[in-house]
Subunit: 215 residues, 2 copies
């Protein structure tokens, strides 16, 4: 990202002087997210965001080197919520490994469905992030994968699950629920047939409990 | 589909007089498919197809009521090949139910990957058929689902699989392989992580063999 020389020096007086940098970053992102919800990430300009915050665009660029960096950070903001929920389920006391897997899959599905219906423009941005493999999106998939792996590993340790390779098993589980959690499939292919999520969860849990003795 | 009155009467002399109607339909589809491969289904016109076959467009419309009907029939032609292969695997002698499931999944994956790389314009049409839920596409998914259901039902009958509801189990199995067989995921999201197909097959077969005794 290059900035024209005449855009610099930054009009620093527009920053609230007492405000720490992380707070400014946070205000920029909250404003960006609101714009993205209202008019979409593609139509939103850095100038829009700056104007709302009574900053110069160059000042915004002190915190985010490009519009793309803002897009990435908003996707991260949006996906962090469900990640926190899922990380919580992965370690919540009093749940069996079965229950943790079931809850995680239900939450991922619910999150995707809700965003698609309640915030279509944000959903559209997450779709683009998937299709263009933005860093924020890859990290999100990784973090969900890690939470699943943790639960599978714990389930093996407690004797509830019987699988040889928890990491590969968790990856298979993750990819098996694509139809229920992939932003594009949920929004654009919702008419494709799929069993109810609870039937799918029951099916997948059978794979985790390991094969019966062959007759 | 309406045809202008001055396009009718059809120039019947252009048909080979001895040719039965199914053969003409077949020649129209073969020509359409070739155009779709070369320039894509969207740029191909009924006039292009008619001209190549030395027919009038109105004559083509005697066999297919619209361009959309030709599109549908070409998708059916294209998908019938893998369907026949899979129907064959479902009943081939000397295979266990495990082997049938594994082979069917591998063939579906291979078919999708190959079409995507070798015939990108045909693949694009299948993608559109999925996204717009064309009849030909829904029927294709149904037929694959039926083949899977047949193998699961047979596997239960032979004692190889232990599942309570073969139809629902087959539907879960089918939806679990979405990442490997959905034209859009294979072509546009191929960078999303996925375990090797053989690891996925092993995982899914565990679900079909039923849960081990709980410890």
């Amino acid at each position: 990202m290059t900035i024209d020389a005449d855009q610099v020096p930054v009009r620093v007086q527009e920053l609230r002087p007492e405000e720490p940098a992380p707070t400014t970053r946070c205000r920029i992102l909250a404003t960006a997210e609101q714009f993205f919800r209202d008019i979409g990430y593609q139509k939103t300009t850095v100038a829009d965001i700056a104007k709302t915050l009574r900053m110069s665009p160059a000042n915004v660029y002190r915190f985010f080197e490009s519009k793309k960096a803002i897009n990435e950070a908003v996707v991260e903001r949006v996906t962090r919520e469900v990640e926190a929920l899922i990380a919580g389920i992965a370690v919540a006391p009093g749940l069996s490994a079965d229950q943790r897997i079931a809850e995680i899959i239900r939450e991922l599905h619910r999150d995707c469905i809700e965003r698609c219906s309640d915030n279509p423009r944000i959903h559209e941005m997450v779709e683009a992030a998937m299709s263009e493999s933005w860093d924020a999106c890859r990290h999100h998939i990784d973090r969900i994968g890690k939470a699943l792996e943790r639960v599978v590993t714990e389930g093996v340790r407690s004797g509830e699950f019987q699988v040889e390779d928890p990491a590969t098993t968790a990856a298979c589980l993750h990819v098996a629920i694509t139809r229920y959690c992939h932003p594009v499939l949920v929004s654009q292919y919702s008419n494709a047939p799929a069993p109810p999520i609870d039937a799918m969860i029951a099916f997948l849990l059978r794979a985790l409990h390991g094969p019966a003795e062959r007759s």
